[in-house]
């Protein structure tokens, strides 16, 4: 306990502050030209949110393991016999526990820095009130997600961050590619969301009455019960149903964190402003998938089968995404692929049972990846292109940016003593250990190890192409220059984090935010050996990169099988093509055929009836000849008919119906 502990109950202030920013900027932004269209309000309030967020995190550090939950009933349905005998309560609440405190720290700090950076970066754009409002709303949703005290609320904010991401990717909505990318992002993550929902249903229904008292359902399906997990991880229950539930959660996480095979949207999401990429598509929202896995593993737990699936997805993704980064020529997309790849590492760690190690990497990654993006943004801001092959020599005109990018790249590559080294190394070590207990993990460990080489190769390729060499390869580029102070300060701060964040966990107070195996990392002989191997791989990656691309060199285009592989990689393994085919061709064709059936078969039948009646009317009226003898004929025919009915048909029918 400390003086700050009572603050934990007010963690809800963080989303509230940013929501206030959303409302103010959203409604008044158009009249606040002097305040950068409300941008400064957003900066101020996100700064306040950062202060509160940091204080909350510190308070949590000072009371290790503390669970503080404040919640409000959202809706209550009374019980009925069956699954929910005591009714269903859905609540909205704010839970501060070590994990959420850590996430709060990341989100508010990066959020504030990006907001500040935006003042400079976005200065010349139109629609700034919209931008700042949406970004504020995003922070609201993201901090809400972080503080969610139950899966439903988690999902609620999860969707909201998704829609903010949708709007921000589509910020330059006049560009068809941006509009299309926004839609794609929404749709692909939606697939994951649907799986996530199914997972929620399974958990909710399965454990409705578990957990003592009136049961989990009646208590709002909360993660925590005051001071401890409500249900506790379901260790030892390895039922198929729970495995499916875990897989569904993994599906949701894969959608949000762009894991294989739902990774396609993230590179395209780079259509949004670079600031958005830094905040949403590098540091926070995409990490929410990992956070989801972590939260699930802490409060609900995964079955062993789930864990294997998670390890597999993580391992495949980190390698698979890295390969695509190797050939890409767009500075932002290279960084985007590296994000997917790094998220793969985190997923791998969570799957391997060392959740906190994954979260550790999430923490360091948020800073160095945001740094990389903001540095890239600085470059784009200066030269107006994202094509690496047009750039060159920018270290001369933009030394700070070059330095920042270098710090980010070193951290990403896992070079000692940068932040990335500690966390990534921790993952490799932990998975190595886990693989000894679970041999099936070995291939994925090897993939992760190989990725270390690829990572350092592609990120330094990007650095050499952009900053190395004498001058830009495309002479038509404008002369680059550093951005204003609002852009430089975040670069400096983030560089500081990218260098130092790795050491934080060696402080026990901070480490209490990551309570679990593997944090802080230990360094046994095996670990040191593994570190040496990975450092060696990273170093050789840098070396190869320098050989091929250093000093303004352009490597010769590959030939033969390598060229073919390059085409495959440039086409992203044809995943996008395939998904497009499913979406545009398969589903749409089915929809068109349904429409055809709708118009001509279903509705056609109805119209057939209409015709029948009007034809019938005309036909019957033809019998009204006006000639009385015909009418007499009808009478006689009717008589015959009536007699037949009474004497023969009627009795037959009546008898067949069983007498009277």
């Amino acid at each position: 306990m400390s003086v700050l502990t009572p603050l934990l109950a007010y963690a809800g202030l963080v989303p509230l502050l940013t929501f206030l920013s959303f409302v103010l900027v959203g409604f008044l932004g158009n009249r606040l030209k002097g305040l950068e269209w409300g941008g400064w309000i957003a900066v101020l309030l996100s700064g306040a949110a950062m202060v509160v967020g940091t204080l909350v995190a510190v308070a949590e550090m000072l009371s290790p393991g503390q669970y503080t939950d404040v919640s409000y009933t959202w809706l209550t349905v009374p019980g009925s016999p069956g699954t929910f005998p005591n009714g269903v309560s859905l609540v909205i609440g704010f839970l501060v526990d070590p994990l959420s405190a850590l996430m709060l720290l990341v989100v508010t700090i990066v959020g504030f820095l990006v907001m500040l950076y935006s003042i400079g970066y976005m200065h010349h754009d139109h629609g700034l009130p919209r931008y700042y409002a949406e970004l504020s709303l995003f922070l609201t949703a993201m901090t809400g997600l972080v503080l969610a005290d139950n899966l439903l609320e988690f999902f609620l904010f999860w969707e909201l961050v998704g829609v903010c991401s949708y709007f921000l990717i589509g910020f330059y909505y006049e560009k068809p590619s941006a509009a299309s990318a926004a839609k794609e992002a929404f749709l692909v993550t939606r697939v994951g969301d649907v799986l996530f929902l199914l997972g929620i249903f399974i958990y909710f229904a399965t454990y409705a009455t578990a957990g003592g008292g009136a049961g989990w359902a009646a208590s709002g399906f909360k993660f925590a019960n005051g001071t401890q997990p409500f249900l506790g991880p379901l260790v030892g229950t390895n039922t198929p149903l729970l495995t499916v539930a875990g897989l569904m959660i993994l599906g949701g996480a894969a959608g949000k964190s762009a894991q294989f095979p739902l990774h396609v949207w993230l590179p395209d999401a780079m259509e949004g402003p670079t600031t958005v990429s830094a905040l949403i598509h590098a540091a926070t929202m995409v990490a929410a998938g990992v956070y989801l896995l972590a939260v699930t593993s802490v409060f609900l737990g995964f079955t062993p089968d789930d864990q294997f699936a998670i390890v597999a997805i993580g391992g495949i993704t980190c390698f698979f995404a890295a390969t695509m980064a190797v050939v890409n020529t767009d500075i932002k997309r290279v960084v985007a692929y590296s994000t997917i790849s790094q998220l793969g590492y985190m997923v791998l760690a969570v799957g391997a049972g060392v959740t906190m190690v994954g979260m550790y990497h999430l923490f360091t990654h948020a800073f160095f990846k945001a740094l990389l993006f903001l540095a890239a943004g600085s470059v784009i801001h200066a030269v107006g292109t994202q094509d690496l092959f047009k750039m060159g020599g920018l270290r001369r005109t933009m030394p700070l940016t070059a330095g920042a990018f270098l710090v980010g790249a070193l951290s990403l590559s896992g070079i000692f003593p940068f932040a990335g080294f500690f966390s990534k190394d921790d993952i490799l070590g932990s998975v190595f250990q886990a693989a000894q207990a679970h041999p099936a993990y070995w291939p994925f460990f090897l993939l992760a190890l190989a990725t270390v080489f690829l990572t350092s190769y592609y990120i330094f390729r990007a650095w050499f192409l952009a900053f190395g060499g004498p001058a830009p390869r495309d002479a038509s580029l404008p002369t680059a220059h550093e951005g204003p102070w609002v852009m430089r300060v975040p670069l400096i701060v983030l560089s500081g984090f990218a260098i130092a964040a790795g050491f934080f966990v060696f402080d026990p107070a901070f480490a209490s935010l990551l309570p679990g195996a593997g944090v802080p990392p230990t360094y046994t002989a095996t670990d040191l050996g593994l570190s040496a191997v990975s450092l060696g791989l990273a170093g050789s990656g840098i070396a190869l990169s320098y050989t091929l691309w250093g000093n303004g060199r352009i490597a010769a285009a590959p030939t033969g099988i390598a060229a073919q592989m390059r085409t495959v990689l440039l086409n992203r393994y044809y995943f996008k093509v395939g998904y497009d085919w499913i979406g545009r061709r398969a589903v749409y064709t089915v929809a068109r055929s349904a429409d055809f059936v709708e118009r001509y078969v279903i509705d056609g039948t109805i119209r057939g009836f209409e015709k029948l009646f009007s034809r019938g009317s005309d036909l019957l009226r033809r019998a009204q000849t006006g000639i009385v003898s015909d009418y007499a004929g009808y009478v006689v025919a009717g008589l015959v008919g009536v007699l037949l009915l009474i004497l023969y048909v009627g009795p037959a029918i009546v008898q067949s119906m069983g007498g009277g």
Binding site: A623, G638, G650, V654
Partner: protein
């Protein structure tokens, strides 16, 4: 037998004789003869209402309460509450037509013939309502038939009227022959013609086949009156060709008489089946009901389908009239007292809707508007009150809520469902048909209220003709009754329901 019991009928007869006397004396002004007719109809109506036991009118009651609703003894006539209800209906139809006709030109030729025959025809119907013997019934029907043939033909210079009368007569005579032949076969089978002899609990003397054929012939013969399909074809031509006021009377009166005749003739075997299943071939009652049910469905469906694309207003109303007869036949086919009550209420309601509608058509024709539905375009703006009244009548015919037509159909179809089993399908058929009917009523409403008049149409002009006070009053009364009974049908409906329950011998 006391003559006083027949005071209403005598009043009608006396009125008719007085009118013919005036005619002989050369006093032929329409107001005079029409006034006599209206007064005798009104007086008779008052007396019959008193006979129904309506409180406050006991003093002028002519039939002793103790002789009403007695079990049918072998006699020529018997007084039943339901019969009185039908008498009220007939008299209302006659009165409406008579009063409305007062608005015709006072020097019109043949006025005394018209009003005299109107009274005689009503008299025939009144007698039908008290008949207790098949021959008495058929003769009473003949009284009405013969006078209505002549009523249709009374504008002697009109070729259309004469053609209509000719058709009416030929089919009518054919039906008469069939009815009497059927009656003779029943006579052969039962050895008598009293409904008591044909009714429940009476021994059957032999020749079951003759009885069945006899009933079959009677369906055909009486089917003519109720315009049951396929005995209906004359009706449209006759309603079309006849003077519109006469058509109003035919649809409001003579058809209803047919329904009552159906009750009298066919309820016997149907009820017999229920009380003594072995008196006739066991399946006969059911197969009779089946036949009547099929006839009902056929009638309403054909009537509606025929009306769907009809372009002339009068013919459309005539076809719709046929379909309405189909609904009423449901009551006969079901044969329970709620169904009879439903049919009787439908008959009662029909006076206001259909007779009223024909009277409006006559009024509009008097304004110089043509016979086609499209000639009515834009009338809503020119004659809003008349148009709204007409709209109410059509909506009521369609069975739209808050009109009497809705209540009557609701009760009728409820009753069919109440009988359960096979009869539920009659309700379904009836309801589907009422859905179908909405089409052509809506078409008329659209023409009147939504469309603009053609420039050549009289409606586009000043439309200065007068409708006349008497006719306006009748139309207004009918419209008010439609809404009034639609919102609060309570007393009338429960009276009819009680009467129907007595009619089948429950709680007599």
């Amino acid at each position: 037998m006391s003559l006083a019991e027949f005071l209403p009928e005598i009043l009608l007869l006396a009125g008719a004789l007085l009118i013919f006397l005036f005619d002989v004396l050369g006093r032929r002004r329409l107001e005079l003869v029409g006034g006599v007719a209206a007064l005798s109809l009104g007086g008779a109506l008052l007396l019959v209402v008193a006979d129904l036991g309506v409180s406050g009118l006991a003093a002028i009651r002519t039939v002793p309460a103790g002789s009403v609703d007695l079990p049918l003894a072998p006699s020529l006539y018997a007084f039943t509450s339901l019969g009185f209800v039908f008498q009220v209906t007939f008299l209302l139809a006659g009165l409406f037509v008579a009063v409305a006709s007062l608005s015709r030109p006072s020097d019109e030729k043949g006025a005394s013939v018209f009003f005299g025959l109107l009274l005689i025809a009503t008299l025939g119907m009144m007698l039908v309502a008290v008949a207790s013997d098949l021959i008495f019934l058929l003769l009473a029907i003949e009284v009405t038939s013969l006078s209505t043939y002549l009523l249709v033909a009374y504008p002697r210079r009109d070729e259309r009227s004469l053609e209509a009368a000719m058709k009416f007569f030929i089919i009518g005579a054919l039906s008469t022959a069939l009815s009497f032949f059927g009656a003779s076969l029943l006579f052969a089978a039962y050895g008598g013609t009293s409904f008591y002899a044909l009714g429940p609990g009476v021994a059957f003397v032999g020749f079951p086949l003759l009885a069945e054929i006899g009933y079959g012939l009677l369906i055909a013969g009486l089917g003519f009156k109720v315009t049951a399909v396929p005995f209906h074809a004359w009706a449209v031509d006759v309603y079309d060709g006849a003077p519109t006021d006469v058509a109003a009377f035919l649809s409001g009166g003579s058809k209803k008489m047919g329904i009552f005749a159906f009750f009298l003739v066919f309820l016997g075997p149907i009820l017999l089946l229920r009380s003594a299943p072995d008196a006739l071939p066991a399946t006969f009652g059911a197969s009779l009901q089946l036949t009547l049910g099929i006839l009902a469905v056929l009638t309403m469906t054909v009537g509606n389908v025929l009306a769907l694309r009809q372009k002339e207003m009068k013919r459309m109303l005539a076809y719709s009239s046929i379909s309405q007869a189909g609904y009423m036949l449901i009551g006969v086919a079901v044969g329970t007292y709620p169904a009879i009550a439903g049919a009787a209420f439908q008959v009662f309601a029909h006076v206001f809707m259909k007779t009223g509608a024909f009277l409006v058509v006559a009024a509009v024709a008097g304004l110089g508007v043509g016979p086609l539905i499209e000639d009515w375009k834009g009338l809503g703006a020119k004659r809003p009150a008349l148009s709204v009244a007409f709209a109410l009548m059509l909506l009521s015919l369609a069975g739209v809520p808050l009109t009497v037509g809705f209540v009557s159909k609701f009760v009728l179809f409820s009753a069919a469902v109440e009988a359960q089993g096979f009869y539920v399908w009659l309700a379904v058929a009836g309801l589907l048909n009422s859905a179908l009917s909405v089409f052509y009523y809506a078409r008329v409403l659209k023409a009147i209220f939504l469309d603009r008049p053609d420039p050549t149409s009289p409606v586009a002009g000043p439309l200065t003709g007068r409708i006349g006070l008497a006719r306006s009053a009748v139309i207004a009364v009918a419209a008010v009754a439609i809404v009034g009974l639609g919102i609060y049908p309570g007393p009338v409906l429960s009276g009819i329901s009680t009467a129907a329950s007595h009619f089948v011998g429950i709680g007599a």
